[in-house]
Symmetry: none
């Protein structure tokens, strides 16, 4: 049985499409790996790639992509809405089929070691692969962003897991980790006031008292002049998509603001969407495993 | 990519369980096919089987089952509440994945030809496979039932699509067709007044001016004292589930009634539910094929 691992590297380039296409070409050139999706966001100035493959292929793809990104992306010239600390900002590995979390942690460590030795990029392990509890959370690891990394990495508690205790001069630092499937899900508001999106994000995210498995920030989509609650749903069973949307709608009301649309970035498991259909359609006694036709096809 | 076809043959046997189990054994013996479900109804004296498989397997299964049914079921001895004209009464083929309606029509024709030549059963093609508009509707094809078939088939307009213009002496006639997946979907109202459910059903169903691919009646759930709009959604892409629910909600308002819940009976394709999630979550630019993880694994 083939082990299937998903890898979702994020790169700090969402404007120069020739670089984004170059990354896609690198991904497509690796055997044992399929490039499922990639998308670039101009206001984030960031691109997200989704690959799936066997352990050997997925490791090779991650290292090759990071090498290409380090050659083409210069963080000293980078501006964008999304926090970032590296040309390859973050590389998570996710167990999909016949693979365990432990195997993904092992892959994260091997890739981290390779980035340090072959590309001279220091690496922090995060989430399930974290070496310390204080490095579990990606936001904590990335705090200070590229511009603050020289100072941060000089502190004993922030010595990286692999590589030198200083950022690569242009490619910065990369976080490599292992985690459960994550759904990138954004909610667009009928306002251009990013403060409103920020206030709502604070309420909806788990870290400040909201929904446990939701992370969120407010951002402005400059091309549309639309404020957005940009979220990562880190456990869609614990915090379903519809619940975040409904909580955002309720909080937006106090500003006379409503939801004008949402975006799913990259992939989501079918169940994450069907859970929301079940809620909104008011389905009684629905059994996902039994009643969804595709679940009977082996 | 494997093509997946569903087949839901109906047999005129719902009392002698050894025959029903014998049919199940035949279905299980065919490679490339999975028997998803089968159920027998004693008062209808009828059983319904649900199989899924690749085109080659599903054709072989349909022919093998009809052969077994012709050997074991004698329509001259058959009594039951449900209208019927054959030992194998009806065989619909449904495109599920990577398969088109045209391919299912082709399969229906091949199976029809095989039933006539190998089992000596005359066949009418119906629904999407129908050779004439007057044969699209199954009820019209089956009118007269087994006992009236000798007379009916002698008429020029009822010459069968395959086989002789006379029923098989004991196994009768079979209708073979192609159609979209049918979803049995009910909406429960906050009233016990079945007239309200009936009035709403009239508005929502295509036959009286409502949603084209929706059939519906009002019924009373006596055990709950709840009026229900009971529907068959015959093409979930043409008429998505959410649209029926929202139209029912809008019409229910004039009676001060609301939707208290819905029921999905049996199976539905993942896409039928995800289409509703897409609507309610207000997803922008969602791509079912690309963004649902499982579509890349099967």
């Amino acid at each position: 049985m083939t082990k299937l691992i998903e890898c979702i590297p994020n790169f700090s380039e969402g404007r120069r499409m020739e670089i984004v296409e170059g990354l896609a070409d690198v991904a497509k050139s690796i055997s044992g790996v399929t490039l499922l999706d990639y998308s670039a966001d101009s206001s984030h100035n960031r691109s997200v790639f989704t690959l799936i493959g066997d352990p050997k292929g997925i490791k090779a793809a991650a290292v090759a992509l990071a090498k290409y990104a380090a050659e083409k992306i210069d963080l000293t010239q980078h501006e964008g809405e999304h926090p970032r600390m590296g040309a390859t900002d973050v590389i998570p590995f996710v167990p999909i089929k016949n693979a365990t979390m432990e195997e993904c942690v092992e892959i994260a460590k091997e890739v981290g070691a390779a980035l340090a030795s072959e590309v001279k990029i220091p690496v922090y392990l995060y989430e399930e692969a974290a070496s310390k509890k204080t490095r579990t959370n990606l936001a904590a690891v990335r705090k200070g962003q590229f511009e603050g990394m020289t100072e941060k990495m000089a502190k004993p508690e922030w010595v990286p897991d692999f590589g030198e205790a200083a950022p690569h001069p242009t490619a910065g630092v990369t976080a490599v980790g292992a985690r459960m499937p994550l759904i990138a899900f954004n909610v667009n508001l009928s306002t251009s006031d990013v403060n409103i999106a920020n206030n709502i994000a604070k309420i909806v995210r788990g870290s400040s008292g909201g929904l446990k498995y939701c992370k969120g920030i407010g951002i402005l989509l400059e091309d549309r002049n639309v404020a957005q609650v940009s979220m990562n749903m880190v456990n869609y069973e614990g915090t379903p998509l519809y619940r975040a949307v409904e909580l955002i709608k309720a909080e937006a009301k106090r500003y006379g603001v409503h939801v004008i649309g949402t975006e799913l970035i990259g992939l989501a498991p079918a169940k994450a969407l069907i859970d929301s259909a079940e809620y909104y359609l008011q389905l009684e006694n629905f059994d996902y495993e039994k009643q969804v036709l595709e679940n009977h096809i082996i």
